[in-house]
Symmetry: C2
Subunit: 193 residues, 2 copies
DNA sequence: CACGCATCTTTACACTGTCAAGATAGCCGC
DNA sequence: GCGGCTATCTTGACAGTGTAAAGATGCGTG
């Protein structure tokens, strides 16, 4: 622990270093050699923990997704009703990426967009934010006695997801312009239908 | 023309070569030197036409956006009513990217997402697809005598855009999974409200 | 015709990801 | 406690990348 590293917890240090670089100078400046240097370790050391640059990036993406999930869960848990939970989750979804457009680009850019959909890589229905949305939605329709067929449910969820994700995407794509006060304009009910 | 090039229309040739590489082996394999090689030209030749790799990419993106716009316009023009035009445009929007997920990644990935929003780079409201959407929407509410305040109009448009773009994004992100038959599930009316 | 300028080539450099071969050291069975 | 195994890390090398500087080339305009 004292002179830790060297034999300590590289891997996590590499992930942290990666986050630092992204935060300070943007994703496009991230390189294997820089993270290695930041950890004061040779440029090939990362290969003991990640087979690829790709794999390092996926690990960092998972880390960002964790932060993202914390905010979504917070929004859901603090909401008084399941309806408000659904709406607030949407707000948090967009708000998170409007605060950190670079994170949006980092998570949903390039070839690795699917990859960091953590455990079941080929099963996006395991993507944590999606799972949370689904559960919150089910709570909502159950608690309010709303009857929907399976198909209708899928459509509802997809629409909720798509509008939040689309808004986030547009906001992050077009820089400042779309970041007018969307919260005031898109009301609670609007988001729900 | 005969032995054209060398002094002919490089620039366009570079863009075409770039498209070819992207189509054949994906965006991530695109490099300045490869496009140059494909045009049988030295690796620094592109710098006579583009100050940057970035600038080449923007030109290629514009080219893709042109194709995209052609499809959107076709959908709008062929629709019998302005209402159907609005819906079909949404369909085309998603369909285009579901057919070419690589184009989605190429257009909306990395640092250059804003850049190719062609003429007024810092004014996304000039982004051609957005303009088309806006006009189609205005036709729709005018022809049907629908009264909406300016603010409501903005929200309507943003919602339409966000759901189409979000759907496209989700479809392209998560690979195959979301590409269940959404056309059947998301009906005309659904897309409109 | 000659000049200028856009275009293109050559050369060079720093940086990148990746790999192979070797060093190092902690942990295991004995 | 000791020898070896294995995970970890270093060193050195290589091909590919973007980019800049300096020179060649040739077309169009004066």
């Amino acid at each position: 622990m004292s002179d830790s590293y060297h034999h300590g917890n590289l891997r996590q240090a590499l992930i942290d270093a990666g986050m630092k670089i992204i935060n300070e100078s943007g994703e496009e400046t991230l390189s294997l050699r820089k993270v290695a240097a930041l950890c004061e370790v040779s440029h090939a050391a990362p290969y003991a923990h990640f087979k690829d640059k790709e794999e390092l990036i996926e690990a960092i993406q998972s880390h960002v997704t964790d932060q993202f999930m914390k905010e979504l869960e917070k929004a859901v848990n603090e909401a008084p009703t399941s309806e408000k939970a659904l709406v607030d989750m949407g707000r948090s979804y967009v708000a998170f990426f409007m605060r950190r457009p670079d994170y949006f680009k980092f998570l949903f850019s390039g070839q690795n967009i699917v990859a960091h959909i953590q455990p079941g890589k080929d099963h996006p229905e395991d993507y944590p934010p999606f799972v949370l949305l689904k559960n919150t939605y089910l709570d909502y329709i159950n608690e309010n006695g709303i009857k929907r067929t399976k198909d209708e449910q899928e459509v509802d969820i997809l629409k909720l997801w798509a509008s939040a994700h689309g808004l986030a995407s547009i906001a992050c794509m077009s820089g400042v312009e779309v970041s007018f006060d969307w919260e005031k304009k898109i009301s609670t009910e609007e988001l729900l239908r």
